[in-house]
Symmetry: C2
Amino acid sequence: MLYKRLPILNWLPRYNSECAVGDLVAGITVGLTVIPQALAYANIAGLSTEYGLYSSFLGPIVYIFLGSCKDVPVGPSAISALMTFQAIRGYGPEYAIMLCLLTGIVMLLMGLFGLGFLLDFVSGPVASGFTSAVALIIVTSQVKDILGIKASGNTFVETWTSLFKDIHNTQGWDAMLGVVCIAVLLILRIIGTLKIEPNHESEELTTVQKLVNKFVWLIGTARNAILVIVCGFIGYSFCLNGEPPFKVIGHVPQGLPSVKLPPFGYESNNNGTLTTHSFGEIISNLGSAIIVVPLIAILENIAVCKAFANGKMVDATQEFIAIGICNIANSFVQAFPSTGSLSRSAVNNASGVRTPLGGLYTGILVILALLFFTPYFYYIPKATLAGIIIAAVIFMVEVKVVKPMWRSKKSDLLLGFATFIACLVLALEIGILVGIGINMLFILYHAARPKITVEKNLSKENTEYLMLTPDRCLIFPSVDYVRNLVTKHSLRQAIPVVIDCSHIYGADYTAATVIEILTQDFAARDQPLFFYNLKPSVCAVFEGLCPKDFVVFYNEDHIDQLLKDRSYVRKEKDVMSV
Amino acid sequence: MLYKRLPILNWLPRYNSECAVGDLVAGITVGLTVIPQALAYANIAGLSTEYGLYSSFLGPIVYIFLGSCKDVPVGPSAISALMTFQAIRGYGPEYAIMLCLLTGIVMLLMGLFGLGFLLDFVSGPVASGFTSAVALIIVTSQVKDILGIKASGNTFVETWTSLFKDIHNTQGWDAMLGVVCIAVLLILRIIGTLKIEPNHESEELTTVQKLVNKFVWLIGTARNAILVIVCGFIGYSFCLNGEPPFKVIGHVPQGLPSVKLPPFGYESNNNGTLTTHSFGEIISNLGSAIIVVPLIAILENIAVCKAFANGKMVDATQEFIAIGICNIANSFVQAFPSTGSLSRSAVNNASGVRTPLGGLYTGILVILALLFFTPYFYYIPKATLAGIIIAAVIFMVEVKVVKPMWRSKKSDLLLGFATFIACLVLALEIGILVGIGINMLFILYHAARPKITVEKNLSKENTEYLMLTPDRCLIFPSVDYVRNLVTKHSLRQAIPVVIDCSHIYGADYTAATVIEILTQDFAARDQPLFFYNLKPSVCAVFEGLCPKDFVVFYNEDHIDQLLKDRSYVRKEKDVMSV
């Protein structure tokens, strides 16, 4: 149990120099990715830049002790940032920090109470529709920085409406810089995948060729960091000659955040008027986000774990606990909700990470950035950060699943599309709930409308009988439907009826009442009715209501005997009533 | 089609004198039941007495043309009256009339759009819990009239709280009269079931004995009418000598209601201040009742039809349309929502009704009452009406289902109890929705957690393999769970694995993705994985994603051949990679 809940105990004793090198390289590479991402994601969350960095250093360090998946670099993700933005509705960083605490607590509680199964109710199509919508909304949120204009709004539609109102103020320099940044990133992304291949399978690469491969890969992986540094220098050189022609990030407070309790209540000063925000108010303003944000965040994290599990099982409960505690800890250093991000974990994995200890170096790198580099962040153009975000998230629009989904199940494609639209038009959390709701209706419909196979069979002694085989379990929404079908078929052909219960794995009281009525109806018509292959558990449910009247058999050969017994009983009855 | 939608065309051509006698007797007997019920139910609905009568004459006449079930006497029922009371929240009869119109429209639309399946989602336990709660709430609502005190409140708890506040004002006369009425009614109810039985089965009853039986039955059936008449006389004689010592109904407007459009908007005069109620306001105040009231009302009606269907199928769609149009028509004569009531239909059936034409006589009787008898209704004591209601509805508390439910399925008993409590504590419509919601969770849980049987089998050629048999369909909430189980068992025993898909009748895209991952995992481990008895429809879903990699077979004898083929492929691969 202790080994399960403190996974560090499993790998630390076996830690060796090879692991150390792998973790160091991976940790630093991830660090180079996480710093520009942190700046950009803070922008998505609608917070000032430093909060992205505050969210990025403690999580990976806490995760070393609790995390069960070596590839997860805990930190802000595009999805968590966007959900935070929509949840705090412009109320400022205090709300984001409280959301971080509550997210952590909810995750931890879900882990402790085994509520991880809730994630099972988010199906592939719903997740794809949601993620694609998130990507489009994030792109939308960044367009204003690319164009250097002003815009606001919570949903996709609102933001675009707002954008079009101010589009005439488009700034040429910002727009040019943004477009160039996106182009450069996309090109570097492609370059990063290039490799010198050996001419024949048997040939080995030379050391130089290997080094070139590594270098090209590094350029591709660190493209965000490279772009930020280059554009930062450009911004700096413009600033030396006065105001730059494009918008820059501006002042980022230097130093680590002060460690303090999350703001359970606070006063905000809005142009001289003091407003008090009580704990209850914060909770009620955050609303359903308190449940939905942790669910979505942990969903992303589990998806990361699964992607790199290589067929091994993912301990979802442990991840709930680990990410939950990371977020709780983070809320003491003024962070917004974070989780394992898919883009960074791919970098982590490709950089050869061996254990969660890689997170230590990532954390140290972010701390160093906070201590020493923040003055230089001043000069980073806003359009560059927007470009980094856009170039990353457009690949989250899951166009590639459309074709297999169409081939596999068309209704699932429709569902995915419905979720996508709902997430764009409504708030994200409502959108995904709509998708999940529709999907649950599928299940309910499945339960309500079983298929029944009707066959006319001949027994060994050449008696004709009707074999009715429902293909799934008998529970309340389906029983009237089944009863009607059985009645229809058995009225049409007045021969003995056998209900094949092989596929009926469960039943309830409502089913039992209907079986009771069915047996009574058949008895009134004097038509034999037998139940074949009824599972003992289901039989117990039926017997609670109609103990005597219904006949079960388990061997098809017995049907002749049953028919004989039955006519014997009937004859005896006739004799008695004479 | 026309015959289906106008059921009168089926029976009218075959109508004969025997039918006419049966319908006349039944129609009048039901009329004698419906008049006191109408007075009493108006009281439950919180409306003045005449509205009960307004609701009782047009419905049965319209139903003659459209109704598919001869035993249904359309009119106010205890449940519909209580739902109306809770829905209109003291806003007055205009709201009740609009609710009647909307109820009718919603029913009609549901019938036309085939939404009758929604009723399937109200299971036996939920219905029992709901009905029992309704009965207790109605009893509660009548206690104030029995005791002659004042009380208000919408839910069970509120009403009892209010009752206890005014209990010191209990009026002796009212209380005594009420208790005596209840006792008389219960005794008459028992007397009504007594019968002179022949001594031997072969003996026939004499004509006198038969007449005595009929008379006793009539006394039992018309007990409400008898009591109302007797108590009305008592009230009248007290009134001759001044104020009676108990409360009486008071003035009931004489004559038929004026036929007019339902009040889409109206002005109310509250102590001199005029308030305007717009259509939108009425709709928003009625809220979810607009959906729940028609559903519950039609549910009661369908239950009535089923109870007297004798194993024949009930045309639910036609009932939706018929009761819907009855309510729409009723809303033009200032009625509140009505439906087929179980108590009256039992009387109807026992009185020998043959066709829905019995409703004509019931309707005429109510019209006569409105035209000529309303002055006499003045003297009916309120406690008598309350007694009639209580003596009727206490039998709606379904204590008798507790034992079979306990024997059949204990979780269903819990569910029924939960619904019962929810209906008492919350508003009725919320209470039943809570019950339905919990019940749906059962289905979702069923879908999410299939059982998997694990067997180690020997093939004909003595190869060991693992046979895994999931017992139900593979859809999104269960697939990860199934994948984990399959992985766990197949890792433990590194032998070929066969997944028996005999019980899998459906799958979706999410299942296909997981099957794809499973086949990849098995391929990576070089462990054979086969699918046995996969239905073609399910196979098509899987093949949308993983067309080549997964092997299906339909004959258990083939497994040896499959294993041989597979090792052959593997050997070839090995040769190639050397």
